[in-house]
């Protein structure tokens, strides 16, 4: 029996034992995890069966056809996309067993405590301190741009454990309990009027040493696993034609002939072509991954989509003319989901400004493409051999 047939058989077995119509959502998700059908490429006992990731689609299709509940992946994106692969790679057996199941079912939401006011692109310069206190660590510092912090049970956290060595060497990776009394979450209002993100203040937060991921001082290497997965998940989705930001503006163009001008027409067609070509590039990347030939194209997808989203939404505001002068709603909200496309053109325009900053600025990504893909010389570094405490700040 092929892997695909075996997976189909197991999915049907799961559905028979736990008919979605008469099963509590959470019970079904737990049963799915225990059957190894959560993420099939994960090891047995941790929600998977150790088969290739490309076979996940077989399971998903079978369960979708039976109207089975999913784990609302958009709500728990940081857990699924960033925390889980890191725990899988660096966690102890005990940590994997404790955290992965409720992470996948969505019972426990995760957030990411990486960026700081003083450490953005230069993340390794971070200054949040973790000091050893017996079997625990005491953490003090400030983190920023933390989505889901207000609903999160756990955080992945990187903190400085040794200020006397160069910055990359003195970092350690932890799992932080967001219900600790020293954790204070404040909404961070952004230019759209909403607060998708938070600032997180850590004051004498206690982290037991058994919530450390990887070795002391090895946190930067551990964090690379997290960050690589972030870029894949931000740029890697396949879309139908007109599936992205170009969809709403094309719709407006078709429905509102009175708004059309020759100049806007030329810009729209150019952007339509670029959006379609980017979609094809994303599709080509997807086909490469399925065929087991990972390409470099992924590094570029986020760059391309950021610029396109900004130009397309900017065009849309202009197209709307007098209506473009209005804004749908400035009310301060704390949405649980990030939605680049929802709401009006003005929101899309403002929100897309973040696309070239979040998850690696476009400037840093261009450096990465130039150095890792094209093999051009790295930027001159003056910080490599300097102890963190002696860096300019």
């Amino acid at each position: 029996m092929t892997d695909a047939e075996e997976l189909r058989r197991r999915a049907r077995e799961l559905l028979a034992a736990h008919p979605p119509a008469d099963t509590d959502r959470l019970d079904f998700l737990r049963a799915r995890f225990d059957a190894g059908l959560a993420w099939v490429h994960y090891p047995q006992g941790l929600g998977g069966l150790g088969v290739p990731r490309s076979l996940q689609g077989v399971v998903d299709a079978e369960l979708q056809a039976a109207d089975a509940p999913d784990n609302d992946p958009r709500r728990i994106g940081i857990g699924l996309g960033m925390a889980a692969p890191t725990i899988l790679k660096y966690g102890t057996e005990e940590q994997k067993r404790r955290y992965l199941r409720p992470l996948w079912t969505g019972e426990e939401v995760w957030c990411q405590l990486f960026s700081e006011p003083g450490a953005g692109s230069d993340l390794a310069a971070l200054g949040t301190r973790a000091v050893r206190a017996g079997e625990d660590w005491t953490v003090n510092g400030q983190k920023v741009w933390t989505s889901s912090a207000h609903i999160a049970r756990w955080a992945i956290l990187i903190a400085r454990t040794d200020p006397d060595v160069p910055k990359h060497a003195g970092i350690t990776y932890f799992i932080c309990d967001m219900t600790d009394p020293g954790v204070e979450v404040r909404p961070l209002r952004q230019i759209t009027g909403e607060a998708e993100f938070n600032e997180v203040f850590l004051t004498d937060v206690r982290v037991p040493d058994d919530r450390r991921l990887g070795e002391v001082g090895d946190g930067w290497r551990v964090a690379q696993t997290t960050l690589m997965n972030e870029r894949v998940s931000i740029g890697g989705m396949a879309l139908p034609r007109e599936g992205g930001m170009i969809g709403p503006v094309s719709k407006t163009w078709r429905e509102r002939p009175e708004l059309r001008t020759h100049e806007l027409h030329q810009r729209l067609l150019k952007l339509w072509v670029e959006a379609e070509v980017s979609r094809l590039t994303a599709e080509r990347l997807r086909q490469q991954l399925v065929a087991g030939q990972p390409g470099y194209e992924g590094s570029g997808m986020k760059l391309a989509f950021a610029r396109l989203n900004q130009e397309i939404s900017g065009l849309e505001v202009e197209l709307r003319g007098e209506e473009g002068l209005l804004y749908d709603d400035w009310t301060m909200r704390r949405p649980e989901l990030v939605d680049f496309i929802g709401r009006d053109a003005g929101y899309r325009y403002l929100r897309s400004k973040g696309n070239s900053i979040e998850g690696g600025t476009s400037e840093i990504l261009l450096n990465i493409v130039a150095e890792r893909v094209l093999g051009l010389p790295a930027e001159p570094r003056t910080d490599k051999d300097v102890a963190w405490k002696d860096l300019a700040r």
């Binding site: 027409h265 067609l269 072509v273 094809l280 590039t281 086909q287």
Partner: protein
């Protein structure tokens, strides 16, 4: 589903064509030839067309061809673009061949597929699919008139000439006067064709044949532009890792790195667009949109790549001795060939229902 990858057979074909061109179509030879009276390299053409059988890729086996598809022809064109090879592959093995496939002229198709006869569609290189075409006058079985901007006419044995009676005629090139025009693109030169009572053989209706030929041309030209742009990027990156100024490799300056990374993104996108167009031409699905998207995107990218290559090479890029100018001239001419990016965007406006005011 559109297959945007290259198959193993396609990669093998690429490797074979690249080997041939590396050995027999070096940049210095192409430059020297461009200045001679015979810019086309007919010995390389013979190896490609007859030796490797590539002239017949688009022709079914029962008509004397290889029975392959636009996907394979696209791979050949990528490599020809990478080498700015002065051979009439696009004009004969794609454009003239597609016109004859539309007409169903088996005898002539077989000759073109063998590579021993070179054909050229006598339609100006600038003509977009669906655009109006200049015709000659048909009178008592003979043809009269002058056509300009005919690519590779200088080496064609047979010209396919649209006439004012709506028919496409096959005309032997020794029955007409072909005069080379000083052309921007040194490696795909143009010529005027003068017909003064030349005998023509009717091969079919001109309109559908020309439309089909120009659509295939526009779609597959994107692959040539991809090869060209990929050469420009690769060669510039290679050079800037070696070239030192201010005691550093020039490729280490961030202003330069970002420009090259941007260009890489464009080339990556162009590869997806060109593969989509080739696949759509092969499958017949979504062909008009895929071709228009590819050609609307490809032309500016190829020109940008060649222009960046020139600028980032500095003074050496401005010399006749360095091959960059061959690529710039080809890229700029390609941006007009078979319709400008603007013409293809205008076509798209109709195809995807985004009409102007």
């Amino acid at each position: 589903m559109t297959d945007l990858l290259y198959s193993e057979e396609e990669e093998a074909l690429r490797a074979a064509v690249r080997d041939l061109l590396t050995d027999h179509c070096a940049p210095a030879d192409v430059i020297a030839r461009a200045e001679s009276g015979t810019p086309h390299d007919l010995s390389v053409w013979k190896s490609l067309a007859e030796g490797m059988g590539l002239a017949g890729l688009l022709v079914p086996e029962e008509q004397g061809g290889q029975g392959a598809s636009a996907r394979e022809a696209a791979v050949v064109l990528e490599e020809l673009g990478r080498a700015v090879a002065p051979v009439p592959y696009l004009t004969s093995a794609v454009v003239a061949t597609e016109a004859l496939l539309a007409c169903g002229d088996e005898e002539l198709l077989g000759r073109l597929a063998s590579g021993r006869t070179i054909g050229a569609l006598a339609v100006g290189l600038h003509t977009a699919p669906g655009a109006a075409v200049t015709t000659v006058r048909a009178q008592n079985g003979t043809l009269h008139g002058e056509l300009t901007g005919i690519a590779d006419a200088a080496v064609a044995d047979v010209l396919l000439v649209p006439a004012d009676d709506g028919a496409l005629y096959a005309v032997a090139s020794d029955a007409v006067t072909v005069t080379p025009q000083a052309s921007l693109d040194l490696t795909r030169p143009l010529a005027t064709v003068r017909l003064t009572g030349a005998p023509g053989r009717r091969v079919g209706d001109a309109e559908p044949a020309v439309r089909r030929a120009l659509r295939a041309a526009a779609g597959l030209l994107a692959s040539e532009q991809l090869g060209l742009a990929d050469w420009a990027l690769t060669e510039t990156v290679r050079y800037l890792k070696e070239r030192k100024q201010f005691n550093r490799p020039v490729g280490g300056f961030q202003a330069i790195k970002h420009r090259l990374a941007q260009l890489w993104l464009e080339v990556v996108n162009l590869r997806a667009a060109a593969r989509a167009a080739a696949d759509a031409l092969a499958s017949g699905e979504d062909t008009d949109v895929s071709v228009a998207v590819a050609q609307a995107y490809a032309a500016p990218v190829a020109v940008h790549a060649a222009e960046e290559a020139l600028q980032l090479h500095g003074g050496i890029g401005m010399t006749w001795e360095h091959p960059i100018h061959l690529y710039l001239k080809r890229a700029k001419a390609d941006s007009i060939a078979y319709g400008t990016a603007g013409a293809h965007r205008a076509a798209l406006a109709e195809l995807v229902d985004l009409q102007g005011p």
